[in-house]
């Protein structure tokens, strides 16, 4: 009897440090943020129970909608651009060339480099007067741009007149951040695509070669369908990460304003601002919960689809 108690306690001693930290700093905070989101919660703690008041406040807060719209623009641009370029580079690297290691290193370098340093360099590149980007534009006979301080939508800039709300598109300031973040993330998606490509059995390609299939139809009928599970994984992971964008916005266009006229204000920046500049912890928690629900939904969709399997066998 004594021995049995001994056996049953031992595993928990091994797990104890991990369990304590996970409970206090991973599990409990989720319950806590849900609770705080139901209160008017200021610097001194809970002031008053408001039920779903903070959520209703978000729905009627124009800055919340602005941050949500900007976040969606960010996701809608970053994800496809990143997938396109990283898949393209991965396909090139997969075509039995030499020096693959060198190229992989170069493309992966921005992934491991700190966002703080990278934002500094790109801010310098985007400098409206003496930056490299405007130097390149004038060199190619295009008009110089104000980049990170330009609040006009990119579609407005392209057609040259004002457009209402959503039609204007993301501001050029936001697009500048988007370009930098695509650049930073390509290497990561590229190595995942490379791994996916190397899992496609060689004999499919050999058969296609015997049949005399062209390069594009090989991609269309062999590579793309057999890569679909990888592509889907990259799609979901990129979308989830993109919804959480914060650091480059803080570093390049804030503080205090979240960019020119709030045009780079994203969800996480908005909740950071609410909590640490306005001490509205309850409201900030409600936005955190909304972000959490968005990401959770995406994760569940991924699980469901993976269970059904998107690839052919």
């Amino acid at each position: 009897m004594k021995k049995r108690i001994c056996i049953s306690i031992k595993p928990f001693l091994y797990l104890l440090p991990a369990i304590i930290i996970v409970l206090v700093f991973r599990f409990f905070p989720i319950l806590y943020v849900a609770r705080v989101s139901l209160f008017k919660w200021g610097i001194g703690g809970a002031e008053r129970f408001t039920g779903f008041g903070n959520y209703l406040k978000a729905l009627s807060d124009p800055y919340f909608w602005q941050s949500l719209t900007n976040t969606l623009w960010y996701v809608v641009f970053v994800v496809p651009l990143s997938i396109f370029f990283s898949l393209f580079i991965a396909l090139l690297l997969n075509s039995k060339i030499k020096r693959i290691g060198f190229f992989r290193t170069v493309y992966f370098l921005p992934v491991v480099t700190s966002i703080v340093a990278i934002s500094m360099v790109w801010k310098w590149i985007y400098h409206p007067k003496i930056g490299l980007s405007n130097y390149t534009l004038t060199f190619l006979h295009f008009p110089p741009q104000r980049w990170l301080s330009e609040w006009r939508g990119i579609f407005e800039i392209i057609i040259g007149r004002n457009l209402p709300d959503v039609l204007a598109g993301p501001s050029l300031a936001l697009l500048s951040i988007i370009i930098m973040m695509v650049w930073k993330g390509i290497g990561y998606n590229m190595v995942i695509f490379l791994a996916g490509l190397q899992n496609i059995p060689r004999n499919y390609y050999e058969a296609a070669e015997v049949d005399g299939a062209s390069g594009f139809s090989v991609f269309r009928h062999i590579t793309w369908p057999l890569l679909s599970s990888t592509t889907f994984y990259v799609l979901i992971i990129s979308t989830i990460t993109s919804f959480q964008v914060f650091a480059p916005v803080w570093l390049m266009t804030g503080p205090p304003a979240g960019g020119p006229l709030g045009s780079t204000n994203v969800l996480v920046y908005h909740l950071y601002d609410a909590a640490f500049n306005f001490s509205s912890y309850g409201y900030a928690s409600a936005i955190s919960m909304i972000l959490f629900l968005i990401v959770l939904t995406l994760t569940i969709v991924q699980r469901k689809v993976v269970e059904r399997r998107v690839y052919y066998e």
Partner: protein
């Protein structure tokens, strides 16, 4: 011909990836007057390495580096110890609720980090830990991904080895530290590098949880330095180069492990 085209594409792409890094280093070596010249110069006409000394003098970067080093080492040791213990329990022990607890741990990986900012801040504040090293270390000395990775490795160790070791008088803990962990060296190295890198680059968490300069880690120090010296791009570039350099060196030595750990953990930063 086709190969040639591929090389052209890849090289142009590689150039676009290298230019920002090159630009940072070149700017860091220019005299202030040359840095703001338009059109810009691609090679500094009169290199000025003193920028680095000026940058180090302009803010207590030595302090920041030491702080980050301290945080990174303690966190990494903590992660290795807690993960080895937990992974060992999950991999080799039989107990009630094992799989449920393990699944709950894994589920925690699905929560996006920004969701933790507000509750994390409030919880740490109630402990009185805001603006202390505890806030930067304790929440991160457990890493679910590390537990998962080590568990996979521990499961491959044959039972016979365990029996042999215990017959020779080795205790369970002794088996874990002297046999199981060394046998899983590749996983431990991957976890250590991943954790060092994450600590070095960590920005948002310390930005929110600290204010005092004495405990400020290097990324936050650099970020404030960038705000204060907003237009002084030669100094900013010099400071950024110094902050980035250790990571790039680490990356060249442990490229395979770093890429692998990023892929497995599904983490971008």
């Amino acid at each position: 011909m086709k190969k040639f085209l591929i090389y052209i594409f890849l090289s142009v792409g590689a150039l676009l990836f290298i230019v920002p890094f090159y630009w940072m280093v070149v700017t860091s070596l220019k005299p202030a007057v040359e840095a703001v010249k338009f059109p810009p110069t691609w090679i500094p006409m009169a290199p000025r390495p003193e920028n680095y000394i000026d940058a180090l003098k302009a803010a207590p970067f030595g302090r920041y580096f030491l702080n980050t080093l301290f945080i990174a080492i303690i966190t990494t040791l903590g992660v290795i110890i807690t993960s080895s213990l937990a992974a060992y329990a999950f991999a080799r022990m039989q107990f009630k609720g094992r799989d449920v607890i393990f699944l709950l741990f894994l589920a925690m990986m699905m929560v996006p980090m920004p969701v933790y900012i507000i509750p994390g801040y409030l919880i740490l504040a109630s402990f009185g830990w805001i603006d202390t090293f505890y806030a930067l270390i304790v929440p991160w000395i457990v890493n679910v991904f590390a537990i998962f990775l080590l568990r996979q490795h521990f499961r491959t160790i044959p039972k016979a080895l365990y029996d042999a070791a215990t017959i020779d008088g080795c205790s369970e803990l002794g088996f874990l530290w002297r046999i199981a962990v060394p046998l899983s060296k590749p996983a431990v190295v991957t976890i250590a590098i991943f954790s060092l890198l994450a600590s070095w680059n960590s920005f948002v968490w310390p930005l929110v949880m600290t204010n005092r300069e004495e405990i400020r880690p290097v990324q936050v120090g650099l970020a404030y330095f960038i705000q204060e010296q907003s237009t002084n791009y030669t100094l900013l570039s010099a400071a950024s180069t110094l902050v980035v350099l250790p990571v790039i060196i680490l990356f060249f030595f442990f490229q395979r492990q770093i890429i692998e750990s990023h892929m497995k953990s599904g983490m971008k930063e």
